[in-house]
């Protein structure tokens, strides 16, 4: 009896900032929504995040950044995923992201950016609606 597919999501904090309360809370919220959440912890490089996504066969990569490094890190993760052939993995971001940066991040392939105060149900819904359909 095949089981229901579960959404597998990596929650990662790229860069050097040391604040992960938000990322940890989101990890729990995603688990509460029935997803299997791989929490990687702090100070991840894009390479680490992408290798993790490969080994875990992740459907979604959720990136959180509070330190202003998103313009480098988020597009770099998208680009590396593509290079490795993981172009169907949904990448979403959150944290402290100035609204003027959002269009460029989206152009770079980040599917959506969720700023502070976003209702968490909205994030969950977005992921459920936009996650890849596994073959």
């Amino acid at each position: 009896m095949a089981q229901d597919r579960k959404i597998k999501i990596i929650v990662a904090k790229p860069g050097l900032d040391g604040h992960d309360r938000g990322a940890k809370l989101l990890a729990r919220i995603f688990a509460e929504a029935g997803m299997e959440v791989v929490y990687t912890g702090l100070r991840q490089t894009p390479e680490m995040i992408v290798e993790t996504a490969i080994q875990e066969d992740a459907d979604v990569v959720g990136l959180s950044s509070l330190s202003g490094v998103h313009m480098y890190f988020f597009p770099r993760v998208v680009q590396l995923l593509k290079e490795k052939g993981l172009d169907d993995v949904l990448v979403v971001g959150g944290g402290i992201i100035p609204s003027e940066d959002v269009p460029e991040l989206k152009k770079a392939g980040v599917a959506e950016i969720f700023g502070p105060g976003t209702p968490t149900a909205k994030i969950v819904e977005f992921i459920k609606n936009n996650v890849r359909k596994r073959d």
């Binding site: 009896m1 089981q3 688990a31 929490y39």
Partner: protein
């Protein structure tokens, strides 16, 4: 359709990862690939790391793996964490302690949720071991969920089982009990810089000595002290694992262990497949609902129903 078996044998981590997902999902497509991988299994040595939550299993796994890498061995890690009984979701957090292994091409880490399976592992763990084995990993480390007293499934899969203990939990009577204390090939006292370490060491060694009187055992489990976060005692652990491996090989116990494992696995597979087929038939045309209704209304007994279903199915 992609040839995942071939890709796994050629060393593609993506193919291995997808095949593992299918195994977790009990997707029938995994079967033919597993069939082709099977001849390439049985080479890896499997080490289990089990113990209570917070004992330091992930940190030990990280340091142990790092030590193996220094010897040039490749490592597959399967890290199991519990699923929520309510939402079905899970937070898989073991990678937090293994960050530095993330980009090492000689290491493949897979987190698994238990998905309601009891015993300290996920249901598909044994199959995932086979994938990583065929994938070419020399050593496979299985980190169980944090266990209590009775989650001992790890001994079905591991060649060497390490039980991680920490000082300060419970008194002598705990170390006398049956269950998880019995399964260790190696005892690890982690956080051995904490108060109570000497007492725990005495308790465990005296249990080991008692066992030597009570049971017939050719192997005496060593008790290794570690402070994993400080990287202390890891070489002793490595030596202990190697010694146990040598013992299993020399005594023929390894072969016996693996034969027993194959027997268990074969029976389990047959069991699962028989049930799956039976379930498919029973649910196909509302038969099961009708049967349940009849049993609820006491027109039928569950014992009679079971006999009837089996008799009918075995005839077909």
């Amino acid at each position: 359709m992609r040839d995942y078996a071939k890709e796994v044998l050629e060393g593609s981590p993506r193919a291995a990862a997808r095949l593992i997902s299918w195994l977790e999902d009990e997707d029938a497509r995994a079967l033919e690939h597993m069939e082709r991988l099977y001849p390439h299994t049985g080479r890896a040595y499997v080490v289990g790391i089990t113990g209570s939550p917070g004992a330091g299993k992930s940190t030990l796994t990280d340091k142990f793996t790092f030590a193996l890498r220094r010897q040039g061995l490749t490592v597959g890690i399967i890290a199991v964490d519990p699923s929520s009984p309510f939402s079905g979701g899970a937070v898989l957090g073991d990678r937090v302690r293994m960050s530095r292994l993330a980009t090492d091409p000689g290491v493949f880490i897979r987190s698994m949720a238990t998905r309601g399976y009891l015993g300290g592992l996920a249901k598909a763990t044994g199959e995932v071991v086979k994938v990583l084995d065929a994938f070419g990993k020399d050593i496979i480390v299985i980190e169980t969920v944090g266990v209590g007293q009775d989650e001992v499934d790890i001994i079905r899969l591991a060649d060497t089982t390490c039980l991680v203990l920490v000082p300060g939990l419970g008194d002598t009577i705990q170390s006398m009990k049956a269950g998880v204390m019995e399964i260790a090939d190696i005892f690890i006292i982690n956080k051995a810089d904490r108060p109570g370490t000497d007492q725990l060491y005495t308790e465990v060694t005296s249990r080991v000595e008692q066992d030597a009187h009570i049971k017939e055992r050719a192997w005496t489990p060593p008790v290794v002290r570690t402070v994993a976060v400080e990287d202390q005692g890891i070489d002793d652990l490595l030596q202990a694992v190697n010694a146990h491996r040598q013992f299993l090989k020399a005594s023929g116990a390894l072969e016996e262990k693996r034969r027993q494992r194959t027997r268990d696995e074969t029976l389990r597979m047959i069991h699962a497949e028989v049930f799956r087929r039976l379930y498919e038939r029973l649910t196909a045309n509302g038969q099961l609902d009708a049967l349940v209704e009849a049993i609820v209304e006491k027109r039928e007994s569950p014992y009679r129903a079971m006999q009837d279903v089996l008799a009918r199915w075995l005839k077909e």
